[in-house]
Amino acid sequence: MKRPPRSTEPAAAASHLGRRELLGSAALAGAALLGCRPKKDPYRIDKPPVPRVPGWRTGEERWVLSTCALCEAACGIKVRVVEGRAVKIEGNPEHPVNRGGLCSRGQAALQALYHPERVRSPLRRTGSRGSGQWKTISWDEAIGEVTAKLAKLRAAGGPERLVLIDGETGTLTHNLWARFLLAYGSPNHVGMGSTGSAAVELDTPYRQGLYGWRADDLERTGLLLAMGTDLLASSGQAMHLQCASRARRPRVICVSPRRPGCRVDEWIPIAPGGYGALALALVHVLLRDALVDSRGFEALPGAGRTPEETTQVTGIPAETVERLAHALAENRPALVASDGSVVAASNGLSTAIAISALNGLLGERERLARVLGTVRMAGWPAPTVDALAAARRAVPRVDGAGTAACPFGQSRVQALPAAIASAKPYPVEALLVRGANPLATLPGRQAWAAALQRVPFVVSFSPWLDETAWLADLVLPESLFLEAWDMVWPAAVTDPPVLSLRQPVVGPVHGTRQSGDLVLALAAGLGGSIGSALPWKRQQDVVETSFPPQSMAAIKEKGAGRSVCADDENCKHGLGEIVDLESTTPHEFAFFARRIASAGTRDGTRSSEAAAGSGLPPWEAPRFSGDPLQFPLHLVPYRPAPFVADGAHAFPWLSELPLVSGNPWPLRAEINPADAARFGVADGDEVLVESSVGSCAAVALVSDGVRPGVVAMALGKSGVVDLVVPDEDRLSGLLAWQGTRVRLRRAS
């Protein structure tokens, strides 16, 4: 049939199919059919491939024991690994610290492990500092560059000009770095002065002359006086306190400016910085009413302070103090436990002394408290220290800790920016930063940024491009704790104390390396006495050979190993030394005075305190920064339950926790209703909190769980740190976190 010639009229419908129409409909049909193909299964999980690890069967799963690193408690964990990928973290039921429980942080750790923002390989800065221009380099190049710089510094005779800021404590890796600095010749191993462990750290050295963690037997405690908001929620002790209370919860009285988010029997609001005064008043009542055996405590400075005298500082009525003292005496053994916020004041050390004294009076002997002394790394050779290192190790530290400026301090990180800026006592030529992000987690951001710019060579080991790493020359990303070997001494002390194993649950997700491997590589690259001081090839070798084989076998099986004391049949292979407080002399404060008397001699000067007779520093009221008229409220920064010291962005679940004490989005300024009325602020209003050095936007939360005169704000998110004035306790060098005054107003 002849088809009519093509015309300009529209083609008739249906019966005639032109070629164009044919192809068009074929294309349409094809597209429609393509669209009808089976959709991707929305319920299927297609995981990215992992580097093949020999021996994994399809679908096979294993549980690997390790130790969490998200706070100093060091809870034991078991991680479920399916086909080479970690899919669940749970508490290890056999671990004495947490006995199977695990807080929100540990549970969320997998978010950090697989986070898209992890730095995957070493980076070298190509633009100017802070420009964010990076080039990926190989590990050999990265380590080679660091080694070359450090070798040059040493050859020029100035190894002390290397500063390591190290946010980690209580691990074997920390000890490796300490040994590296020893052999290299620098005294500048600067800790971050963790708010969590600080209080514990201050206790035993000054009472027992030992460095180590106390072990308190909670199950035998009749009454726990918990000082500080964070103790029960997020301190290194929190998990252990909670787990230990399963069988029998002691009566708990919490003293803090902000009501803790967890269950306590009584909350006594206290003014910031008033803990020492409260402790002294309690000591006074206990001694006055002869409620306790008081031998040796009369010499305690400030023991004469009555409750009435201290009310001004504490804000606690005298009758409450009397009642509390009697409650403590009647519920023996009683324990006074505190978190870092308690000593985070300008009178931190004397506060710690007063609380120690109180504990001593309250039946330490009955409470069977022990101390884990030095952890013996039996497998380590003696360190080799050459003449240069020996000489330069003796010079004063750059942060002034141990000098007249800070006689009893271990570390004084907040002093670094000024020291770097002034180049006193000597300029800092190289700065290494690991496990820390000072720019974002310490006050004085501008000063830190300026200081970093002044240091010629800055290396960050951060797994993230955090604020500090942003200004570095090289980023050598460390593996996360789930990918690393280590041995940890938990801050959450158990009785008897234990050491806890950390081992990789998966291979490194990216091209990162364990911190221990990095320091060993640097030592090998530098060679000489440094190389022989750290003769191992891998971090794993260090961990596996540091302790006797029997102990290692026991540790691997349980995930935690016991440190044993002299009487234990396993003790010949003891991992550490345990000191029973029972066995010390009854007048503990003799130790105290000796320790303080002998301190402060590093640079040849003796502290005026030590020279002043009893050797105990006088007690003084806390100091606050900011004019009280302009800044009528006290800022109380606290650690919320899911507090992560550094890298909160890597754990989004924690920011979405449906608990105010979990510090969910957005940041809140918690104030008492009386203050809210005074400043015309309603619950939910956007407010501006200002101090003499900075300001911060927040949302008001009006609650009677906050003492009048106080603004409580959670740490961990950006903002709060900018408000804090970096005042410190001159004796211990600890930052006075709770020493800042602020004002608050509605943001219009």
């Binding site: 990215p48 970690a86 749970e90 199977g100 695990l102 929100s104 492990l113 029960l232 787990c243 269950r263």
Partner: protein, 271 residues
């Protein structure tokens, strides 16, 4: 011509509508029928279990560990600050305002009611009560009408307003035993039935009875709790821990007057 076309169209519409309704009905009926059929013949001598939870408000320290444990175990994606402000983040185990005489927030999972209102309103049988008392949600059936969310007096159901995002390698950490849910589906606490199923199976393979001790900390929330405030078990077994705790003078239930007969029992704070 037009009238005929209209008639044809109308009757076609009616037919389609009728088919749709009966299809939905058939689906729902089938779903309920399947669901209603009794449990496995593997254990003919066992009475049917009634799984329940006991939450001790005195022990609970409100740490939030259970919330995150549940999210990790069940592949619940975080939503970010913008959605968080709109209260859309999904917390199968949540903390609601203080109740039952406490001044602290209330940890609250799905109540797994004996008489669940949500099951009655589901048009497609996506939610039903399992033979062992779990109020279950079958993700694939859910059409996202959210009637169940309205019906639940405890507000324990969550809707996926957006497609869950697992950026970077986060997919790697998903639990292979739980299907992640796409946009448009309602989800809620399942009492970690996948863990229950695995435990029952393991016990059967090992030829051992499933003891109460073995299940007391079975769901992720119970397992993670530092103070062991959450206990899980068989309420129809009078010797189980949960039954024992349910007989405590401190035992109570939320919204008892609503008639839902929740199987999550709270123990009031000890004052």
């Amino acid at each position: 011509m037009k009238r005929d076309d209209d008639n044809l169209r109308d009757s076609r519409r009616k037919l389609l509508a009728g088919l749709a309704v009966s299809a939905a009905g058939v689906l729902a009926a089938r779903g309920r029928a399947l669901a209603g059929e009794s449990a496995t013949s593997d254990e003919p001598d066992k009475r049917p279990r009634r799984w329940g939870l006991v939450i001790d408000l005195d022990r609970c320290v409100r740490c939030g560990g259970c919330v995150v444990a549940c999210q990790q175990e069940n592949n619940v994606a975080p939503l970010g600050p913008k959605q968080a402000v709109r209260t859309r983040p999904i917390h199968w185990m949540d903390f609601l305002p203080p109740a039952l005489g406490s001044s602290l927030p209330t940890p609250i999972p799905c109540m797994h009611c004996e008489d669940p209102p949500c099951v009655k309103v589901c048009p497609v049988g996506a939610t039903y009560q399992s033979p062992e008392g779990i109020t279950a949600q079958i993700w694939e059936r859910c059409i996202g009408c959210r009637h169940c969310m309205v019906a639940c007096p405890y507000a324990r159901r969550y809707f996926n307003w957006s497609e869950p995002r697992w950026p970077g390698d986060e997919l790697s950490s998903l639990n292979p035993d739980v299907a992640p849910r796409p946009r448009g589906v309602v989800e809620k606490c399942t009492l970690c039935h996948h863990r229950i199923r695995a435990a029952v199976e393991r016990a059967a393979v090992d030829e051992e009875p499933l003891s109460d001790e073995a299940v007391r900390r079975l769901p992720a929330c119970a397992q993670s709790c530092p103070t062991q405030a959450i206990s899980f078990g068989d309420l129809s077994d009078p010797e189980s821990e949960v039954s024992r705790l349910a007989r405590s003078p401190r035992a109570t239930r939320l919204l008892a007057e609503a008639g839902t007969r929740p199987k999550v029992i709270y123990l009031r704070e000890d004052t």
